[in-house]
Symmetry: D2
Subunit: 343 residues, 4 copies
């Protein structure tokens, strides 16, 4: 088989994103609330997430790290935004650019296997994420698109939120797949922050942009991100965290409580918090640090918090479908933080 | 609060066993088959389990280790036996005696927390399994019941299967909760093996029995278990494994292929195998060893095998509900290995 | 390459067992006691193990599960017995028969890789344990040797301890590698219990033995094991546990406290306990259950207990070398429980 | 006890950083190379790290994520830089600011426990990192010091490397503890990059700085970081990665290979790479993605790569002490990338 055919063969089965509207998980979540171990933890986290959605004062912050968007959860995040169950997003650059923006450009993720020869993949121009595959040529188009968006902007420092807003604007005219998370968030004035924006396909695009515009180029100021997210925390009052994975987004969102204090605004800790993660508590890293530990830092209240130690693609669809079908979101209106604070 | 009230308070919320008949997981499993990571692994394992059930020649062996029976999965196992989706069981003594037999006596498991003072629990006579609690006084009644069943038997060596058959017989007249796994298996002639039977509440009962009958008492001969299980493998031909946890039951069931060869019967490897476990592959223990590794030993075929690295209470209900609602079991008849080989 | 050459190539580099006498880990352990996370846990567990050894009243029970003996720790266990730092052993059948007895017969484990084609290994007759390889033909000799030892014994029920004593006796005349754990334990009157003895190479040998001696054969009575180990607990008074892995051996050794009570002897909980394991606490299985949880069951005291969540081959050599070079064992004499209680 | 005394009691035992010069791990590492599982992985990773140090053309990049600096490894990193075994550092902001800079200010980390009441800690102003404690008042001084360093700088966009250089300059006059990583790196012209610099104590200081200098303040441009690190990769040619934890630093350092290509410079993949992490491969996140997977992306060569799945405080001291005592570093000279490229 020649390499082009082999590549086609390997990239033949697309990842299909789960649709939480198509099945009703309320009964299984309800049954799990009477069980033990991870099932009960999951049911309790679903209950706390419902409390966030039902609380009319609560701004819900979704934090994303890891590859769940590539792995079939991309539609969940759009649906949560579209139905006003998420008001702010803090994510890794990869979740937003390499995965969501990438699919908005019309590209796809493919089902692969962990039992492969990575050097063959390299030769074929296929990138692997555990059991999931990407066409590297398409990813480079994604990099370059970011670069050309940057080329069209006024040369100054931007927060990642500002830049992602421009990506949303661009997608309104150019997207090949409607309903991406970036576009939905744009429509709903939901701000998206990527505190380590450069650590992604966006970084490649922006490095090229700075390289070809040596004396006059845009910069991504992550301090501005922190300032803006803290402003939201200050105005929001009550907040809840839905943490998928851990990483920088988790810590960044938690830290706004402290930052608000340092800026002279006394705010409450995050009132609600749930985290789904496979991280291991043993190494003292933030990704795995329990929400109780965050309580010692004054970041998260200790009444409505729940860790779920499990892999998110298998658990999050249940939590999100449960919340969707409980329909409390029908009483919620869009918070529109982007418009209220930053326009 | 006096200690009796405190004990009542801690033991106030029972664990309720999930009913796979009450919700239909076919759609969520089908959606997961197009995703990645653990969700796709789970969907594939559900698919392989369905293949076992649909294969008219296949004898399905369920192996159980860990505390899923205490944690809300007890009814699943009974339902799988009642609907002829499981033909043989290999389990830890704890799953069968401390959990299933214990609840058949009318006792319950209780929802607790991991954030407790274990020395307080000890003083109150409460035993903890992660976030689940048991009344130690009730567990001692369970121990003694085993002892008294043993007292009534002829003094000779028994396989654990034979002894558990006697427990089933006893439950037909004495059970407080109908439909326990032991009783259902008894009704369906499904043999239950506990290769480390003594490492459980049964061990306590049998030690007391031997202690008070120094010169004439029963023994539990685990070699006989191995011989009998191997005989089933020889007669069954095609076999599939549904492995929950790992431990001795996993290894024991796998080993029958080799044992059959050593006894002169050339048999096929287990044709189907799925395992759900949180075990960690790094330490080379059998619990976590992949089914591919088992292929090197000639125990498990490598076509229909799938590891699911996740916690079973949150994943098994989906797999089992999917199989239940697919209704392939309606075409299956009871294998009745107990009656065919051992009576 | 023909298959014989390929097999030789794959089985060319032997696993070499670490010698704790050849390097002095006292300084690194001492440094780790001032650090955090796993290093401090390891240092504290080394400190508690030293306390067991220094306590003149303490009987030290080593429990073994997993494949550390295959993975280079085999000599550690012999050295601990030879220097009177371990007085009783409770182990999986595999640790004692497939690994220790196997090497005593002159066979070896080989360094392999996890990146292999298991079906090729199967065709070549090579068995894989994670990154470690075994010649299946040699393992079958091990099975058969057990069978022939059984053939030479009087037909009655034996505890696994009794049978392993016979294996020690046999090795005194037949071993190809001196200083195996079984032989050293035989010399030092250290009893070895395998509560799930059949779940190992021994099982294969004993099944063949029973098969060819249908009407008069030996049985392995694991109730007798439990009775004998409980007797040791009753006579020993103060006890400490060094738990490598988890599994049946861990639970079995812990349970003797309860068994002693049921037999009318009030005994203390295990005073000291340390465990090194990669098990994951989330599933409520005994392997991963914390020693604090065991305290709720009244099995382990809560003053000198320490979990170390890590892989044993990389951590145990440090703990054992530290204890060896501290030389407290020079003040200890052999407990000789085998001779004192069972002869 | 009043709260001040209680706080003193809890913060009474300092974490002491391990000194790799004080013990010689060569023998234990050498022994581990003949074992299996994690021990052999660790030995192989030590061997690969030695290869990097011995390769006269190799620039060694250390990436740091997690809390090992707080947990007793802080001195290791300084020693690696001081002895020219590390030429570039990519780290989380917390490792560099909250931990290293914090201790350079004269503050300490304290030994704590995971079994604590986090709400009591919060009331006392104590922050917890797993089993390690910090005085929150001291951390706020750290935040403010960053703010005041920023106040003294010209208002423009800085890479994190540039800002950390200013921190090093400041420490030359103000440090209370000599030999911090920042100061040593400053002396040795070793650049330190924090791609998510704001996600740390630095973020708090910089937010305050921007807040009080609304119209003229510094920004942290992480695109500049990526550009500069890529420039180093282009000039360095041969590179090796020593990856502790994972997170943004791991991905960022790996990505320079691709960024160089996009900028028109064809560079080699990272020739050597080892990673020590507790991350779990199942979720497809970069932290846990194997170095083989990175090979599919064209980032890491597949000849000299090794994952070590274990907790770093217990394993890294062995690897680093082994390399230190092998003394290959005595033949190396400082690469001084900061001076050569950025001054």
């Amino acid at each position: 088989m020649n390499s082009s055919d082999r590549k086609k063969e390997l990239l033949s089965t697309t990842v299909e994103h789960v649709d939480i509207k198509s099945f009703d998980a309320r009964e299984i979540i309800s049954a799990m609330s009477g069980m033990s171990f991870t099932s009960r933890d999951l049911a309790r986290s679903a209950d706390i997430f419902s409390k966030m959605v039902e609380d009319p004062d609560c701004t819900v912050i979704l934090t994303l790290a890891g590859s769940t968007s590539a792995g079939g959860c991309m539609q969940i995040y759009s649906d949560l935004v579209a139905s006003h169950m998420v008001d702010v997003i803090v994510a890794t650059g990869a979740s937003i650019v390499d995965m969501d923006f990438f699919e908005a450009l019309g590209f796809r993720h493919y089902q692969g296997s962990t039992q492969v020869d990575d050097s063959e993949l390299r030769d074929l121009g296929i990138d692997r994420i555990y059991d999931t595959l990407i066409d590297e040529d398409e990813l480079k188009i994604c990099d370059r698109t970011i670069g050309s968006i940057a080329d069209g902007l006024e040369a100054r420092a931007y927060s990642s939120r500002e830049f992602i807003l421009e990506m949303g604007k661009w997608l309104k005219n150019n997207s090949k797949k409607p309903g991406s998370l970036i576009e939905t968030a744009y429509d709903k004035d939901v701000p998206i922050f990527c505190p380590a924006f450069t650590d992604s396909s966006a970084g490649f695009g922006l490095v090229m942009h700075q390289h070809r515009n040596k004396n006059s180029h845009i910069a991504i100021d992550s301090v501005a991100d922190f300032r803006e997210l803290t402003e939201i925390k200050i105005h929001a009052g009550t907040t809840g965290l839905l943490i998928i994975g851990g990483g920088v987004p988790k810590n960044f969102a938690q830290d706004t409580v402290i930052a608000a204090e340092l800026l002279g605004s006394s705010v409450n800790m995050h009132k609600y918090a749930v985290q789904i993660t496979v991280a291991d508590v043993r190494d003292g890293a933030c990704s795995s640090s329990t929400l109780r530990e965050a309580n010692s830092w004054g970041k998260v209240d200790n009444v409505y918090e729940q860790m779920v130690f499990g892999e998110a693609t298998s658990l999050l669809p249940l939590l999100a479908s449960d919340a969707y079908h409980k329909e409390a979101w029908k009483q919620r209106s869009a918070r529109r933080w982007s418009r209220r604070l930053f326009s």
